[in-house]
Structures are given as structure tokens and as C-alpha cells.
Amino acid sequence: MTAAFDQPTITDAARRLRAGELSATELTRAALARAAARAADLHAFITVAEEAALRDAAASDARLRAGKPAGALEGIPIAIKDVIATAGIRTTAGSRILADFVPPYDATVTARLRAAGAVIVGKTNCDEFAMGSSNENSAFGPARNPWDVTRVPGGSSGGSAVAVAASLALGSLGTDTGGSIRLPASYCGVVGMKPTYGRVSRYGVIAYASSLDQVGPFARDVTDCALLLGVLAGHDARDSTSVERAVPDYGDALAGGAKGLRIAIPGEYFVEGMEPDVERAVQSAVETLGGLGAQIGSVSLPHTEYAVSAYYVVATAEASSNLARYDGVRYGSRVDGDGTLLEMYRRTRAAGFGDEVKRRIMLGTYALSAGYYDAYYLKAQRVRTLILNDFARVFQDADVIVTPTAPTTAFRLGEKVADPLQMYLSDIFTISVNLAGLPAISLPCGIDAAGLPIGLQIIGPPFGEELVLRAARAYEAATDWHTRRPPAPGGSR
């Protein structure tokens, strides 16, 4: 049975479900079995919602048999990052402080998946409160890279990338604040997309940095990615930062081809210290796109070097405020002390939060403090404007920007834990995109000498998801990197 849909894409599976060649229950059981088999070595899930998933799958089968599928994802097993609220399913944000938190509400994206007929198989592992680049900051232990289980899957949405790469689900949701979808997509050899800020609702998405957070899909290929984005995107009255703007048919955007696309290559994204295999793969991808008829031009994004600094001020400032609600009063874990309020706060938060979360709360609190606000927070916001202007200038003459997703491929577990600054530099190519609120995708464009996937990042102008998907699909159609699969269980390199 498993062999028949060993590695199906959503598009394949949806067709076969509708044709009655396959049932949602079979598909879901296969995904759950695989998740169970790989739980120990990959640790992609924090919570597997087996019972609920099988119930949803049975309901999907009933609708499919009646010829009335709910939507584009009817019967498709999907995994959801554990920072996204799922009514009745534990939602931990990868943190001890929410280890037993079961939300009574769905995030809007969860509700949209359900409305489209998706079967939610579980909640994926991630860095605590989405703060991290390796998934090692999860309070439940790290997820591991299926291409080499001694390596990190990338973060913070590591489990969501692993779930798709190892076929534990056919698609998944992540969140991307500074690269948290694109980096793990790159490290795990799958497609991951961060939409324009405001394109997808943040309601019910546990906030890390509200002005940067955005939900997006992971998928096997660009076609599936477009399908998922179409389900997620759209205005939500419950998120005042979501934008009232019609959602195009992203599937239609895929067929455009590369011919005539104006592609900009920023010099600042090819830096010293980047892995030679990565640079070669990306240069080769650019040549491929050129060969398909795209116009390639060199550009400059001169404020790129300030992006990481600005990000760690803005993101941590917002986080210091966003995480204040975890105080042990209304929900989540609480540690009582000597009976005073202050001691309860101290102990609850000391025990509930991990080191990286504490580090960022302290950084952000400092940046917002009286006397430092202008020098840090306001200055960072001004840098943000400069970065936005850099992109706006480039997009006057270009349709998309192409860069590497990350300077290296997946690193080893523990390699950067002791050096937060080195860890922060993993996001050097993805952070600017969040500061500017732009859409960007990461898709596979090669395998390095160690046998690890390399990611290509394609960045679009605001609400330019169609251009990004069109360029990505054109490249994917001309190459076979997206068909490469990680080795069988137990493999390492």
C-alpha cells in the first residue's frame, strides 16, 4: 500500500482521492505510520493528533464518496507548526511554559485548512516561540535533518520542513519572522514560502515579532506551494494588519515561464565565507534561468549589512512585549514561590522560558528602555526604512531578485549553540525580506559535496507572489532537484 503513494505531491494525491483510487483514511494512516516510525530519529512532531486526524479523514472520505469535497485540500494530511493555534489540540510554541496549553480556538489559517478539507495530522517541532535558526531551542528537544540526522533541519519551523521532506505529511505550515520557513526549507530540500506581510492572517499565530511574523506553506514542489498559499491567503477581519486585497489564482501564475522575466542579482548576497558549493549552485541556477529567457542583471542592496542588527533590535523589542502575557496567571505553567506576586512571576518565567527566549526578552527590554529607545529601537526602524527603499528601487527595474537562501547547507547539531552570533548569521540572506515585508520562496537548487540540499531564494515585490511562483516554477520545471529525496531511515553522511 505504502509504495503506491510513497512520495505523492498534494496535487497527485488530490487527483487520486477524487478519482477514488485512494482514500483519505489510507493516506492519513500512512502519514501517521511514517511519523511514528520516524518519531525517534527525526522528532518532527511535538504532538501527533492521531485520533482527530483519523476522524477528519473519515469525514473527508464521506464527502469524497458523496462527490462533495470541501475544498482543494480534501483528505490531504497537513502538519502545522506548533506556534499556530489548533482548537482542541495542544499548542506549545515549543515552550515549557505552554507545555499543556490546549487552545479553545483555531488560528484563522487552521480554520482555512479545515474549511478546505485538510486533515491535520499534528503539531510540528520548532524553536521556542519561533526564536532560532536550528530548531535546537525547542523545549522538547530538536528535530533532525532527514538528509543527515546528525545535522539540524534549520529553524525555527524545522519540524514542518522535516515533515514534508520525510513524507510525514504532504504539506505543512510554518511561520517566518527572519527566515524561519525559508532556512529549514533550504536545509531540508523542500519548497517553503513566506508571503507578503499582510497577505495571510496572523490571528491565532503565537506572536514572536508582530511586525515581521508571517505564516506560509512548505511543500514538495512549487505547484503544491501555490495551492496551499491559495488556501491560506486573504483578508481576515480578526487581523487588522491583514490586507484587503483580492487573492489571485496562484495556480494560473505557474505557467508564465521565465521568458522576459527581469531577474536582479544583488552583489551583497554573495559574501566571503559562504560555502563554495552553495555559490556555484546558485550561479548555475541563475544561468539556467537566463537560458530559459530571463534577463539577468546585477544590482546593489547597499543597506543589507545592517539588516541582522536592525532585526535583532526590532524583533526582540516586540518579543519582549509579546511574551509578557506568559505570567502564570491565566493559563500555562506557574511556579509559586514565597507567596508574593513578584516571586511567582520570576519563578514562572525563569522555569518556563529557555535561554534563547530569555536572551531575546532581555535584549528587547533593553532596546525599549527609557534613554535607549531612540538609539536602538528608533534607529533600527530607520534602518528598516532604508532597506525597504533599497528593495523598492531595485523593483522599479526588476520582477524578482534571486539569491542563495543561506550561506551554507545544514550544520551539525550543537555546532553553533555556544555562539549565538554565528547562529544569527544563518539568517543573513533571509532577514531583509522580513524587514521589508516582501514575499520570498526557497526551493531546492542543488546538493553539496556532503550530500546536503542547497536552497535558492526568489524575492518578489509587495504582493508579487505570482511573479515569485512563476519564476520558481520555471526553474523547477527545467531541473530535477525537487525530485531528490533524503536517504532511507538511519542514513547519515
Binding site: 506556534v83 499556530i84 493555534a85 499548542t91 510554541a93 505552554l98 496549553f101 487552545p103 479553545p104 480556538y105 488560528a107 496572523r202 490571528y203 491565532g204 499565530v205 503565537i206 506572536a207 515579532a209 508582530s210 511586525s211 477581519a237 480578526r238 487581523d239 487588522s240 494588519t241 523589542a317 516586540e318 519582549s320 512585549s321 511574551l323 509578557a324 502575557r325 506568559y326 505570567d327 496567571v329 491565566r330 493559563y331 507567596g339 506576586l341 512571576y345 527590554t365 525599549l368 528602555s369 527609557a370 529607545y373 529601537y377
Partner: protein, 485 residues
């Protein structure tokens, strides 16, 4: 020269007015008061993980209404900010407020103290969410939190330090409360905490302009408490400075039982709130069209109404002042005048018997005249009966009391109890003859020039007719008889 003469107080007030919107400022929960604990809550106002605020448009309209009435500039673009601090009644660990760019800037309120008018400048008005309430268990060490109030919309109305005495502060607060009630944006109830006031108080040597060190005084839950607390602080500052001491900038709490202020623990007042723009809410854009829409729907304000009462209804200034001091009272007055257009007579009844009845029934704070014991139409009818000569003013008082108890119409009460005034000469002349016959000595005295006795005879005749005789007729007939005509 006493300390009070050498020092001049400088006072500014910060008022928090809870708005009368149906729902909370950032979620759909009811904003009403008095429900069982935590009934009016949802994931948004409880600050659950991942939830987001959505602005209630009515709150913006109410803020604009206040801003227009106080003649503020309405900012076309204002911003939401987070005020960060930890407290159990603050669900999110921050309060969504406005900081650098409030919705209303400037403006002024005119007050009158001892007949002297004064203009008090406003600094700003901004919108924010209220907190919940901590409830401390009287027996154990437990504290409970009720989040019903968490997210109820507030306006913070900040004055310039233009007030120079406790009486001015009291007059400012009362004027502001009248205004917010007129605007129907706040019920102005200080005891229930829907209208709260903090005072910034300092003193300086008379004739100097530099401001002294200020102290913030909190925890005053009546107009009297505000006046007393400010007076206490002024005296304390003057005494400290007289003795060569210095005033510490701090927050102090008013203790209503001991009638003194005490410093709050410095730990509690030394907050760095780390304000920053709330990334969950876009800047608030207020269009000219919205301002115009709110302006069109503005009720008539107290000043304009007072002027109209004097000019159009020919009421004395004093009557107009009293009647417009509350919007519901003025509305009631106008409804009675609509039923019976004798404005001065209506004014006398409303200011006298109606206010007395309200006070007796403890309905002083009722917001609408529909809750009042005597319907406006009924009072109009009662005054009409007097003016028609159907009953005397004295009988009318009796009828009014019964209207207040039974709710019946005056005509029905008069008919049922046979209180119709006697205007036929026959029975009155008979009564006069009887009274004169019973008091021959008094008649003789009168006729000898003791005119004052007329009142005595009138009283006796009214008594003999059970109060129903028409008094002017009694007067005329008595005079005729006594003069021997």
C-alpha cells in the same frame, strides 16, 4: 502672611472616562458593568496566545465627540502604543493606549467658580483599554482577578496645570462630567469608577512662574475626595516648604477614612513603561468625513442649551443654569414644556418638587428620564390644571405626591378624590359668612384698620372648604364682605 497666602497651588487633572459603548475596545465582549466575574471575556480580552486586537469604531467616534465638544484638534493620523508593565489584572502584560500621537490635542473647558468664569486648557485626549480588577480575599492569601472590565474603552482626558484651587478642580470635574453625560459617552459615576480622576499638584511662591515639584495623587472616588485630597496636598507642600524642606516627586494615595495622603511604595511608582507603537494595529486614520459625520450627530451642548432657555423660553439665568446642569434634567424639563408651554411654572416644579422627589428616591444618578417617577406628560397636565383654575397650587402638591407613588394621571387623581377647585360663589360666600360669624372680634379689628388679618380669614375659609376654594375668588369675596359692601 500665612503659608497659604505665600504659596500658589498649580493643579492639573487626568480623568479616565469609561465609555458607554456596547462592546469592548478590541473585541466583541459586552462592556457593561455588573455581570458575574469573568462572564464578559473571550480569548482576545484574556490575552490568550496568538489573538489580535480589532478596533471598535464606536470608540473613535466617542473620542471625536469629546474632542469636538472640548474644541480639540482631531488628529488625522494617530497611533496606538503599548504601555508595558506586569500586573495580574492586565492580561497581555501591556495596555494598548496612545502615547506620542493621541487622537485629540489641545482644546479648553470653561468653568465658573463663585460666579467667576475661567478657561482651562486641555493637553490631550487619548483612547485606551481599561484593566481588569484584582479582588483580594479578605481571609486567605488568595487574590482573584475579574477580567470583565479588561478591554472596556477609556478616554484619558488630560488638563494643563491651569487650576489654582481645590474649588476650581472640583468645578472642572463637574463641568467635564456634565459634558460627557451630555455627549452620552460616559455615565460619569465616580463611585463605580466609570469616571476617575488623578491630580497633579504642586505649589510655587506667589508671583513666580517656575513650576514646583509635583506630586501625583490617586485613589479619590468622589468630587469631595478630589477637593479634599488636593487641599491636603497644598497644605502639606506649603508646610514642608515653610519648614525649609523639599517636596519629593512621587505618587501618593488618598486615604478617605483618615483624610490624608500617603506615598505609594516607590517600587510601584518607578515604572519604565517602555512605550512603543503597537505593531498589531495600523495607525488610526480619521477622515474629515468621519469628523463631519460625528459633528452632525452632536447633541446640543450645555452652554448652547442654557442660552436658548434664557432667550427662547424667557427663563431666569439661574433656572437655566440649574436645568442644564444635567442633560436628563434639561431633557425632562423640555418634555414637560412640550406638554404644557408655561416654561417658568414648569421650571419651578422641576427645580423644586421633581428634584426633591428624585433625591428622596435616590435617583440623582439615573441617566434617563424614562426611569423617573413622574412622567413628563403627567407633570405638564398637572400644571395645566393649575393654570386652568381647576385646582389650587396647594392641592396640586398633594396630587403630585400621589402621582409619584401611584403613577396615575393628575386628572384621574383629582376626579377620584374630589379635589376639583370650587369656583362657584355660592358655597364660598356661605363659608365666608360662617367664618365671619364665628370671629366677630377679628372682624371688628380688621375693620378698625388691621389689614393683616385678611390672611387669617383666607386661611379659615380655605380650611372650611377643605382647600378646594379658588384662592383669588376667596380673596375678592372676603374683601368685599369685610369692607361691608
Amino acid at each position: 502672611m500665612s503659608a497659604g497666602d505665600r504659596f500658589e497651588p498649580v493643579i492639573g487633572l487626568e480623568v479616565h472616562a469609561e465609555l458607554l459603548t456596547a462592546s469592548k475596545i478590541f473585541c466583541g465582549c459586552s462592556a457593561s458593568f455588573g455581570a458575574p466575574p469573568n462572564q464578559h471575556t473571550c480569548p482576545v480580552c484574556l490575552g490568550m496566545p496568538g489573538v489580535l486586537p480589532v478596533l471598535n469604531r464606536r470608540v473613535v467616534e466617542f473620542a471625536i465627540r469629546a474632542g469636538l465638544a472640548i474644541r480639540c484638534a482631531i488628529a488625522p493620523r494617530s497611533r496606538w502604543a503599548r504601555k508595558n508593565y506586569f500586573y495580574p489584572d492586565l492580561a497581555k502584560g501591556y495596555q494598548i493606549s496612545q502615547y506620542e500621537l493621541p487622537i485629540c490635542v489641545g482644546g479648553h473647558l470653561d468653568i465658573v467658580v463663585d460666579g467667576v468664569a475661567k478657561r482651562v486648557r486641555l493637553t490631550r485626549i487619548h483612547m485606551e483599554e481599561d484593566t481588569g480588577k484584582n479582588i483580594h480575599d479578605a481571609h486567605g492569601s488568595e487574590s482573584l482577578v475579574d477580567f470583565n472590565r479588561c478591554g472596556v474603552p477609556l478616554l484619558e482626558i488630560v488638563s494643563e496645570p491651569d487650576l489654582a484651587s481645590p474649588a476650581e478642580a472640583g468645578a472642572y470635574l463637574r463641568t467635564l462630567r456634565t459634558l460627557v453625560r451630555y455627549l452620552e459617552i460616559c455615565d460619569g459615576n465616580m463611585e463605580e469608577g466609570s469616571f476617575r480622576c488623578d491630580a497633579n499638584v504642586s505649589v510655587r511662591a506667589r508671583g513666580t512662574t517656575a513650576l514646583g515639584v509635583k506630586v501625583e495623587v490617586k485613589n479619590m472616588n468622589s468630587f469631595r475626595a478630589v477637593e479634599k485630597a488636593i487641599a491636603y496636598e497644598i497644605a502639606r507642600h506649603a508646610r514642608v516648604l515653610e519648614e525649609g524642606g523639599t517636596i519629593v516627586q512621587e505618587t501618593r494615595l488618598w486615604d478617605a477614612d483618615r483624610e490624608e495622603t500617603r506615598p505609594m511604595r516607590s517600587k510601584e511608582s518607578a515604572h519604565d513603561y517602555r512605550y512603543f507603537p503597537d505593531p498589531d494595529l495600523p495607525p488610526l486614520v480619521v477622515s474629515e468625513a468621519l469628523v463631519a459625520e460625528v459633528r452632525r450627530a452632536m447633541p446640543e451642548l450645555p452652554d448652547a442649551r442654557r442660552t436658548r432657555f434664557v432667550a427662547a423660553l424667557k427663563l431666569p439665568e439661574y433656572d437655566a443654569e440649574v436645568l442644564t446642569s444635567r442633560r436628563d434634567l434639561a431633557d425632562y424639563f423640555e418634555a414637560v414644556v412640550a406638554a404644557h408651554p408655561n416654561a417658568k411654572a414648569v421650571s419651578n416644579w422641576v427645580m423644586g418638587d421633581v428634584l426633591r422627589l428624585l433625591k428622596e428616591r435616590k435617583l440623582d444618578d439615573a441617566l434617563t428620564i424614562t426611569d423617573w417617577p413622574v412622567a413628563a406628560a403627567h407633570l405638564g397636565e398637572l400644571i395645566a390644571l393649575i393654570d386652568e383654575g381647576a385646582i389650587s397650587g396647594k392641592i396640586a402638591k398633594t396630587v403630585f405626591e400621589e402621582m409619584g407613588t401611584s403613577g396615575g394621571t393628575p386628572r384621574a387623581i383629582v376626579a377620584a378624590r374630589g379635589l376639583t377647585q370650587v369656583s362657584d360663589e355660592g358655597p364660598i360666600v356661605a363659608a365666608i359668612d360662617q367664618v365671619l360669624a364665628a370671629h366677630p372680634d377679628k372682624v371688628a379689628e380688621f375693620r378698625a384698620g388691621k389689614d393683616k388679618l385678611l390672611g387669617f380669614f383666607v386661611g379659615q375659609v380655605m380650611k372650611a372648604t377643605a382647600g378646594k376654594a379658588n384662592p383669588p375668588l376667596v380673596n375678592r369675596l372676603l374683601t368685599e364682605k369685610l369692607r361691608g359692601e
